[in-house]
Symmetry: C2
């Protein structure tokens, strides 16, 4: 709006809807710079003006514009997170914990779900890259092998942290993972120790680090104890209820059936318990079952299921710490060094299925 020939002329622009620091400055008869400094509690500003400015800001309903601020400062105070599914127990608790800490440190968390689709993961990575997140945290899809869509972050020196489902070695990024190899080992030893000889294994796809590692550990355990793992009793597929149920049917179709099952996630273990109930297979006498993740459901079902605890909160602590370090000391180092994976402990929780 400006003054011409005695008339106010409305420009066709959007009306200026909100007060900025310039408006406060004008109202107070001081410069915008002073206002900015006062609002940011800059040291070299008099107490008096600081107070005046803040009062006026409140009076005018001023709100800080973080978009402008971010543009100017070249940092968004936002951290991106790409996770396969929010609703998975492990991730839900991980996120809860991570977010609480980042919130406390003054960061916003932009949570996105890849839904286990590589294509979507790529799109999200690009979107968060454009959104100028200050850091990116990722747990990969089941099928991500090519991780070139994260290269931009590395090139720009934007901290990149993988957790849980991490890429193959050699990525110049932070890696924080569970000790899946040991988890597999524990599971294998436990089943054999309980007397199982005819062991079946239902796992996720090997393209995913966690299943790859669990499988390695499990295989090693069996090999070391001279227990054979028959090929036809090993399944690799997405670990949904339906898929699990299908594999179980195949496993127990003939008269030659397993006496032990390692289910690489708890959903599958739960399916197995329900399957056994339906078929009147006695647990643990006829079949011993061990799951993975220590999902709360495992302790609710009857019989309760032996599982591997992954400590999602501790993992979130580690990720948060890594992030905050990396963000505070740009480029230089943090306590977690790049490319040197942090391996978080796991524990076996014994229950009634073994």
């Amino acid at each position: 709006m400006f003054w011409i020939y005695g008339f106010y002329v409305m420009t066709p622009r959007k009306p200026k809807s909100e007060n900025s620091i310039v408006d406060i400055a004008r109202a107070l008869g001081i410069s915008p710079a002073t206002v900015s400094r006062a609002l940011n509690n800059n040291l070299r500003i008099s107490e008096a003006t600081r107070v005046r400015v803040k009062e006026m800001a409140k009076e005018m309903g001023y709100r800080h514009n973080s978009m402008a601020s971010s543009l100017r400062n070249r940092r968004s105070n936002t951290i991106g997170l790409i996770v396969p599914r929010i609703s998975m127990y492990f991730h839900a608790f991980f996120i809860t914990s991570l977010q609480r800490q980042l919130q406390a440190a003054g960061y916003n968390l932009m949570i996105c779900q890849s839904n286990d689709s590589v294509k979507l993961e790529k799109e999200l990575a690009n979107s968060l890259y454009s959104a100028r997140v200050d850091a990116l945290v990722v747990s990969l899809t089941l099928y991500t092998e090519d991780i070139s869509h994260f290269e931009g972050f590395v090139k720009q020196g934007i901290p990149l942290v993988f957790y849980d489902r991490v890429p193959a070695e050699g990525t110049p990024s932070y890696v924080i993972k569970g000790d899946d190899y040991r988890g597999g080992l524990l599971a294998g030893n436990h089943l054999v120790g309980a007397g199982c000889q005819r062991i079946a294994y239902v796992s996720g796809p090997l393209s995913c680090s966690i299943y790859h590692e669990r499988t390695r550990g499990f295989m090693d355990a069996l090999a070391k104890q001279d227990v054979a793992l028959r090929k036809e009793w090993v399944y690799h597929h997405e670990l949904t209820m339906e898929n699990a149920w299908n594999s179980l049917r195949k496993l127990f179709d003939g008269h030659d059936v397993p006496d032990g099952l390692f289910a690489a996630n708890d959903t599958t273990a739960i399916a197995a318990v329900e399957f056994a109930r339906e078929r009147a297979i006695r647990i643990p006498e006829d079949l011993r079952i061990i799951g993975y993740s220590n999902d709360p459901r495992t302790s609710i079902i009857t019989p309760s299921i032996t599982s591997i605890e992954q400590y999602p909160h501790e993992m979130a602590d580690k990720v948060a710490e890594t992030l905050i370090d990396a963000l505070q000391q740009p480029v230089s180092g943090s306590s977690v060094s790049i490319g040197d994976p942090v391996v978080c402990p796991v524990d076996l929780v014994r229950r009634m299925t073994t």
Copy 2:
């Protein structure tokens, strides 16, 4: 960097780290405006330059700066969400569904947890307000009664949508809620219909809309069937395992015990089943139990628990639709009108505890 007396002079500013639209323009010898238009697929740009620009952009590793774009356009393409806890079943699935749809519509979702703290909820509201979210979606804490911290959104005409745990009437915002009154009614009728006469009720605090409504419905059902609800058998508190367990102990301490229990969430119902198992109370013969939310755990536990299904996905659909409508038709109307709550259906799912 600028040219003086034949020398490039580095200013002490941060080095310009990335290529912008201006750099592309310079490289191509055209104007930044043209580059912007080309990248945005503006119609009045020649196919030839569009291609040239896009190629150069790719070559130079250009990435769109949404902070600048947002500042200029006065919209962030980001929607804020404040939820009590991500890890609650209902919310986890709601979020999953909502996010998928907003993602598809080109919006980012900034998910925050209030952790059922009113103080944190306020901080988050302010933070999202500063972050210039284009809309805000909220499910309130258990204790939020004063909702003045959302006033700013209303004043600025930023779409504000409450779902599930909604404020008392009269807020000029969109409201999408489950039919908690009917849920309570269904629960009450079901217990009485199954023959219960001595009914207990463990609920959340009445400051929270969902428990308020469930309680009303439940009370009405009992009243209509002339079944008394003893005061000493009614509890209102946060519905955690521990609290539930405490109340159950009190309920079953004497010799005069209930024969029916309405647990206003499934966690409490699960606690009740486990409590009954420990005390050798037979279900459903001695005690009938009904929960709320149809958490997957209710169908896994033995005996499986009768519960009320809330259809989180459908609710998310409705919220997404409302948001997208409201964002597309600023100020004017959408199919959901402000202040006129949308009530989503609920259904009783009968299982083995009744």
